[in-house]
């Protein structure tokens, strides 16, 4: 993979120490995370990989402050997230995290502009500033001419660009992308990954959750999860052969 330069990292954003997450499924307790420690600095580009059932989704929900751990410490920009209530978590998600979903999750009856403005409404920003900010990020992702289109008038790649613009609009500390190319053909997928590379080069922090190696290959650091634990955490992309070798070691 032909990387552009890797940028120097900034201060610590996410500091996770030994977090666990248990789910009660009927009689059984599922231990989705069994003690994960992870530190992510600003201006990192990190991929979280793992097969299904590895705890990848659970870790993503933790990182995205959609859920709180059963035990362990989670600090986001120095603030203890593990003990926050629903509304405090909502505020963190609103200001600090930009989500990009596999299924785009745009509001179907709203224009691109309205979709991108949504996080700003929840942030309590006035209408004029809101529109200004939304127009700016839509321009940044190359959709300046699609602002008044509704999602069903856009292609898959354009929809995901709207979602990326929505993630960026509040100027978050991290962008959390969950299988962002999962619903796109490979050419469009590459375009989205090029957009992420561009965002990274402009100083954004990106966390990519994926099970696709060639998507993860864009990141500058790869974390592999297996059975609720971090198996490997390496800078750069680790080709499959190396991984097999590591397994043997």
């Amino acid at each position: 993979m032909n990387h552009n330069s890797t940028r120097p990292v900034g201060p610590l954003v996410i500091d996770i120490e030994n977090i666990t997450k248990d789910y009660v499924m009927g009689e059984e307790i599922v231990r989705a995370l069994r003690g994960v420690s992870l530190q992510i600095h600003s201006n990192e580009y990190i991929a979280i990989m793992g097969p299904s059932g590895s705890g990848k989704s659970t870790l993503m929900n933790m990182l995205g402050c959609l859920d709180t751990p059963t035990s362990g410490r989670y600090e986001f920009n120095g603030r203890n997230v593990a003990e926050m209530d629903d509304d405090e978590l909502a505020a963190i998600r609103n200001r600090e995290i930009g989500f990009v979903f596999q299924t785009f999750n745009l509001l179907p009856r709203s224009t691109s502009l309205r979709n991108v403005e949504l996080p700003l409404i929840y942030a309590g920003i006035d209408p004029e500033t809101r529109e200004e900010m939304a127009v700016r990020v839509l321009d940044e992702v190359g959709l300046g001419d699609r602002m008044n289109h509704k999602p069903n008038e856009l292609s898959g790649g354009q929809r995901q660009r709207v979602a990326v613009a929505r993630a960026l609009v509040n100027n978050p500390s991290i962008i959390l992308a969950d299988e962002p190319t999962g619903n796109l053909d490979s050419k469009t997928g590459e375009e989205i990954m090029a957009l992420f590379e561009d965002l990274y080069q402009r100083g954004n922090t990106i966390i990519l959750v994926t099970h696709e190696r060639d998507i993860a290959a864009h990141a500058r650091r790869t974390v592999h999860l297996r059975d609720g634990l971090i198996e490997t955490d390496h800078p750069g992309f680790i080709p499959e052969v190396d991984l097999v070798a590591l397994d043997r070691a």
Binding site: N61, G64, L66, D67, D86, D87, A90, A91, R93, N94, R95, F99, F101, N105, L107, R109, S110, L118, P119, I121, Y122, A123, G124, I125, D126, P127, R166, N170
Partner: protein
């Protein structure tokens, strides 16, 4: 506060978009509320009408007049105590008037005797049975009254029945075999439930009344009060005067009753109120059914849009925001239904008033506010359970929902 306004605005926008994109569903759901609001509003107009009818009937009595009668104006269980009371005589009025004149700062103005009975009235081929005939000194100039002239003032309905196509003035009607010349017709007052109304009464001078009608008539004395805010004092004063007229010893109980409009009202009010409560309760049931429809559709809406709720939460919507959004959606539906229902109810009222002028309904601005308030309340109450469910969805679960 600002954020709340933006969220409110956003919620309204979504609610309208939601209604537009689900036209049929919204219309059917709103129909439930429309029917409910029509029922409640029409009942409201009827309650209003009844109340006004009561008050009209009551205003015949006057709110500044005390009535000295044999029987009290209330339900009595010990009727035998009142049966043997001496009758009230019309002469008491003159005695009372002399006493009032001699009393400095009296709260009473003047006493007027009246007698009444029910008689038939005829004119040509037309006749009206059971008309309340009042003998009084008011209404007539002194000479007519004292001299017992055979003149009569008739109520609107009586005039209507006897003189369908003529001017009644100066015609002579037959009451109890005696001719009376019509000197006046009372303007229409409206009637309700056959309660006393001037429309179905006639008045003759007391002198003539005493001269021509049997002594079986009931008499009472009406006393006008100077200041109706001092009705209680006036009542005490009148009671004192009447005791002197009757020559009662201090230890003897009153053998007459002093009544006022209010006493009558307080016996009728419970009737009026129970009509209102029962009527509004029954019509309220139809609104309740409408509310269940709203609740149901809001639950469906929450279910359908679970993923959207998840997305909104991920983007920073707090519980309150989601709660507000769905409350506004249900309220918007109810308000829409309320508006349409109110408009239809108004048209119906208008039609009923045109078709049946005597039907007691009355549409008022207060009613408009009341039904709009009820609509909003219905929306809030019926939307609350689904909105609460939505606001407490786990974002992780909601995002994964397909």
């Amino acid at each position: 506060m600002k954020r709340f306004l933006y969220e409110l605005n956003e919620s309204w926008r979504i609610a309208v978009a939601q209604m537009r994109s689900n036209m049929t569903r919204s219309a059917l759901t709103a129909l439930g509320v429309i029917i409910g609001i029509i029922a409640v509003t029409l009942m409201g107009t009827a309650v209003n009408g009844i109340s006004i009818g009561f008050d009209n009937s009551m205003s015949v009595l006057g709110d500044d007049v005390l009535y000295v009668t044999q029987w009290p104006w209330k339900q009595v269980d010990d009727w035998w105590n009142y049966r043997d009371r001496k009758k009230i005589k019309t002469e008491y009025a003159e005695t009372l008037n002399r006493m009032i004149e001699r009393t400095p700062n009296s709260n009473l103005v003047v006493a007027v005797p009246t007698s009444s009975l029910f008689r038939s009235i005829k004119y040509g081929g037309n006749s009206v049975d059971n008309v309340f005939v009042l003998g009084t000194t008011s209404y007539f100039i002194v000479t007519e009254s004292r001299g017992g002239a055979s003149v009569v003032v008739i109520g609107y309905d009586v005039a209507d029945a006897l003189f369908p196509s003529e001017n009644p003035l100066d015609k002579s009607v037959l009451i109890n075999g005696q001719l009376f010349k019509v000197v006046g017709v009372n303007s229409r007052q409206g009637t309700f439930l056959g309660l006393f109304s001037w429309d179905s009464m006639v008045a003759v001078p007391l002198g003539a009344f005493n001269k021509y009608f049997s002594s079986k008539s009931e008499s009472d004395v009406r006393v006008k009060v100077k200041d109706k805010r001092k009705l209680a004092e006036a009542k005490d004063e009148l009671t004192g005067l009447m005791r002197r007229v009757r020559g009662l010893q201090p230890e003897v109980k009153d053998d007459f009753s002093v009544n006022e409009q209010q006493a009558f009202k307080s016996t009728l009010d419970p009737v009026k109120n129970s009509i209102a409560v029962a009527g509004l309760f029954i019509t309220g049931l139809s609104l309740f059914v409408g509310a269940i429809g709203i609740m149901n559709i809001t639950f469906v809406s929450v279910k359908e849009r679970t993923k959207e709720i998840g997305t909104r939460k991920a983007l920073g919507a707090r519980r309150r925001t989601i709660l507000l959004q769905f409350l506004i959606e249900s309220t918007a539906l109810c308000l829409l239904g309320g508006f349409i229902g109110l408009a239809l109810a108004y048209l119906m009222c208008f039609g009923i008033e045109k078709a049946f002028p005597s039907f007691p309904i009355h549409f008022s601005l207060g009613l408009v506010f009341a039904s709009m308030t009820v609509s909003v309340a219905t929306g809030l109450i019926s939307g609350f359970a689904p909105a609460w469910t939505a606001s407490h969805l786990d974002p992780v679960v909601a995002l994964r929902y397909e």
